[in-house]
């Protein structure tokens, strides 16, 4: 199942992170900041490996976990880690991006590129991942996600 969610701004600073499972690695906030900026740099370096144009890192797989990164055209990166075998990854990142657009960007008190401290965003993200853990299926979760708007 899902382990952690991170959101990195376009300068490489970590603006949000959340543990999604008790199996997730327990790290302190400094470690998270370091991981956020290291990942940002590696994401950029990965572009220069091939001779032609390439995006940054989209996925990372090891024997113990999988990572997916969604980079928006505004430069913000949504990074999700999950245990191997977790089925739904990219669509989940898009759902988080939607929640970000609704509850962070439209929040008049939020400063762009600053750490995210929007209660509604945190609540909705928690609810989203809890719904995955309880229903356990892609179809149900998507349905629940889109019906929240009505």
């Amino acid at each position: 199942m899902y382990l952690q969610l991170m959101i990195i701004n376009k300068s490489g600073g970590l603006v949000y992170n959340q543990d999604l499972s008790p199996q997730a690695a327990q790290l302190d906030s400094n470690d998270w900041l370091r991981i956020g900026s290291t990942f940002h740099s590696l994401h950029e370096i990965a572009r220069s490996i091939p001779p032609g144009r390439s995006s940054g890192i989209v996925a990372l797989e090891t024997s113990s976990f999988a990572l997916r990164c969604l980079e928006t055209i505004t430069g913000i990166k949504f990074v999700l880690t999950a245990e191997r075998g977790t089925q739904v990854l990219e669509p989940v990142l898009r759902m988080v991006y939607e929640l970000y657009s609704d509850y962070v960007l439209k929040n008049p008190f939020h400063d762009l590129e600053m750490p995210i401290r929007c209660r509604l965003f945190t609540e909705h993200v928690t609810e989203l991942f809890e719904s995955f853990h309880t229903t356990g299926t892609n179809a149900n979760a998507r349905h629940q996600f889109f019906t929240r708007l009505r």
């Binding site: 690695a25 290291t38 990942f39 370096i45 797989e61 090891t62 024997s63």
Partner: protein
């Protein structure tokens, strides 16, 4: 399923061997490219160790994907790193490929060879290894591998 290149690094990050197939040359000969690859993989390994869930031991394999390529790396317990650059739709099993290159090709042709010294840090020039590698890669690619 197209393989682009293979690099072999020692524990300290020195590039002991590299070979390219199928496509424009990536390495401009200055040694910058292998260093970049090694540096990126080393840091990604550190980040993965931090992010890994508790209770799972790493097996030395890591895969990095972008929209245009996939980089597969295997680090043996002895510290040798084998890095394979392939296209994004690599259908084969990269773990099996890398392990084969390590166990059946590198160990057999280089480590066990009395005339090769992979610990010296210099580039390994083993015609036998190169020949076996080309043959193996040619077999994987369906015979389409051409040395760049």
């Amino acid at each position: 399923m197209v393989l682009y290149s293979l690099h072999v690094f020692d524990r300290s990050g020195r590039c002991l061997f590299d070979r390219e197939w199928n496509g424009p040359r990536r390495d401009d000969g200055s040694g910058e490219h292998p260093r970049l690859v090694f540096g990126m993989l080393h840091s990604l390994g550190e980040v993965s160790n931090k992010l890994a869930p508790r209770g799972r031991a790493p097996d030395g394999h890591i895969t990095v994907r972008t929209d245009s390529y996939a980089l597969h790396a295997f680090e043996a317990l002895s510290g040798y790193r084998f890095v394979l650059l392939a296209d994004a739709e690599f259908k084969g099993d990269p773990r099996a490929v890398l392990f084969h290159v390590y166990a059946q090709l590198w160990v057999e042709c280089v480590v066990k060879s009395p005339v090769q010294d992979p610990t010296s840090g210099g580039r390994v020039g083993s015609p036998l290894f190169e020949q076996q590698l080309d043959k193996y890669v040619g077999g994987l690619d369906g015979g389409a591998a051409t040395k760049t």
